[in-house]
């Protein structure tokens, strides 16, 4: 029952959250300052997603094998390699470090 409630609940809230912006703010000509803030949303949110998933262990900050893997993947991405290659290398480095530790 817990699982069914979670599935239905997440489906409903996700749909509502995704609909909210377009419904409330649609059909208006936005202010230039609004657009400048919007353009900065992606770097802010994405950077937060990356660090919270690579540098934390539950509610604690922590560095692990996955942190090193993601770092190596990041270097490849910065040098213009594809996201698929970066992910494959990140996974391989993480798995190799775990096997050694």
């Amino acid at each position: 029952m817990t699982i069914w409630l979670t599935i239905i609940g997440l489906a409903v809230t996700t749909a509502l959250v995704k609909a909210a912006g377009p419904v409330v703010f649609g059909g208006r000509t936005p202010h230039p300052a609004f657009l400048r803030v919007v353009a900065m949303m992606a770097p802010a949110l994405l950077a937060a997603l990356v660090v919270t998933s690579a540098l934390t262990d539950g509610r604690q900050l922590g560095v692990g094998a996955d942190t090193v893997g993601v770092l190596v993947g990041g270097v490849l991405l910065w040098r213009g390699r594809s996201v698929v290659l970066a992910v494959v290398v990140a996974v391989a480095v993480t798995a190799a470090l775990r096997a050694l530790m």
């Binding site: 029952m1 817990t2 699982i3 409630l5 979670t6 609940g9 997440l10 809230t13 996700t14 959250v17 995704k18 609909a19 909210a20 912006g21 377009p22 419904v23 409330v24 703010f25 649609g26 059909g27 208006r28 230039p32 300052a33 609004f34 657009l35 400048r36 803030v37 919007v38 353009a39 900065m40 992606a42 770097p43 802010a44 949110l45 994405l46 950077a47 937060a48 997603l49 990356v50 660090v51 919270t52 690579a54 509610r59 604690q60 900050l61 094998a65 996955d66 993601v70 993947g73 996201v83 698929v84 970066a86 992910v87 990140a90 996974v91 993480t94 798995a95 190799a96 775990r98 096997a99």
Partner: protein
């Protein structure tokens, strides 16, 4: 068919490949948390929001209630509120039509469809999301049924997929100095809040860093 829809499909394929791997690990973890294969696949098909799914799953796996799992997932989705608000002026039609179009927002598609001047190419958004949806569901099918063959996903390093995936989208956003500075601020806000707030809140709070865009 709209040319930018086709271009979007092409742009979306690398992210769809990575999304496949990510959703395999979701399928495996969902089974370990007590989901039936059907429940795991249904979750991928009707929630279709990776970070919310993983956040909700983490709560259930640690013995939390449905309400706590839904709250964690919804907080993770908080960023879609910001993304949808940004996207809104680029969507035509009445409220219902806009709400439907808003459902296609996922992180990679939203970032790729952004023209960088505050407006969005909606057909590119739809195109980029299409292959990601297909592989997201397929990956969960593989993970839900083939999980026992994979064994411990942490040992395989699959937890590195999620952050590297988002790093890939982020790097494309860092061309100008201002967005680099905003990214660093967003990261620091999020890390500072991790020990004190439920999962999802640090990410939502990081959107405050985007206010630096107010400066000319």
């Amino acid at each position: 068919m709209q040319p930018s829809f086709v271009a979007g499909i092409r742009l979306g394929i690398p992210y769809a490949v990575v999304g496949f791997v990510l959703s395999v690990s979701f399928g495996v973890l969902a089974r370990q948390a007590g989901f039936s294969p059907f429940q795991a696949i249904l979750t991928a098909a009707i929630v279709f929001a990776g970070s919310a799914q993983f956040a909700g799953l983490a709560v259930l796996a640690s013995g939390g209630t449905a309400a706590a799992a839904i709250a964690a997932g919804t907080l993770m989705n908080g960023r879609f509120l910001a993304m949808g608000t940004a996207l809104a002026p680029s969507l035509p039609g009445g409220p219902l039509k806009r709400a439907a179009q808003g459902q296609t927002v996922v992180d990679a598609s939203w970032a790729l469809a952004s023209r960088g001047d505050g407006t969005f190419d909606r057909w590119l958004l739809f195109g980029t999301t299409a292959p990601q949806y297909v592989t997201w569901v397929l990956g969960t099918v593989v993970g839900a049924f083939g999980g026992e063959l994979l064994g411990d996903t942490d040992r395989l390093g699959l937890d590195a997929v999620f952050p590297t995936f988002f790093l890939g989208i982020l790097v494309a956003e860092l061309r100008e100095p201002r967005s680099r500075f905003v990214a660093i601020c967003g990261a620091m806000i999020a890390l500072a809040l991790v020990p004190f707030t439920p999962p999802g809140v640090p990410i939502l709070a990081a959107s405050v860093a985007a206010l630096l865009g107010l400066r000319r």
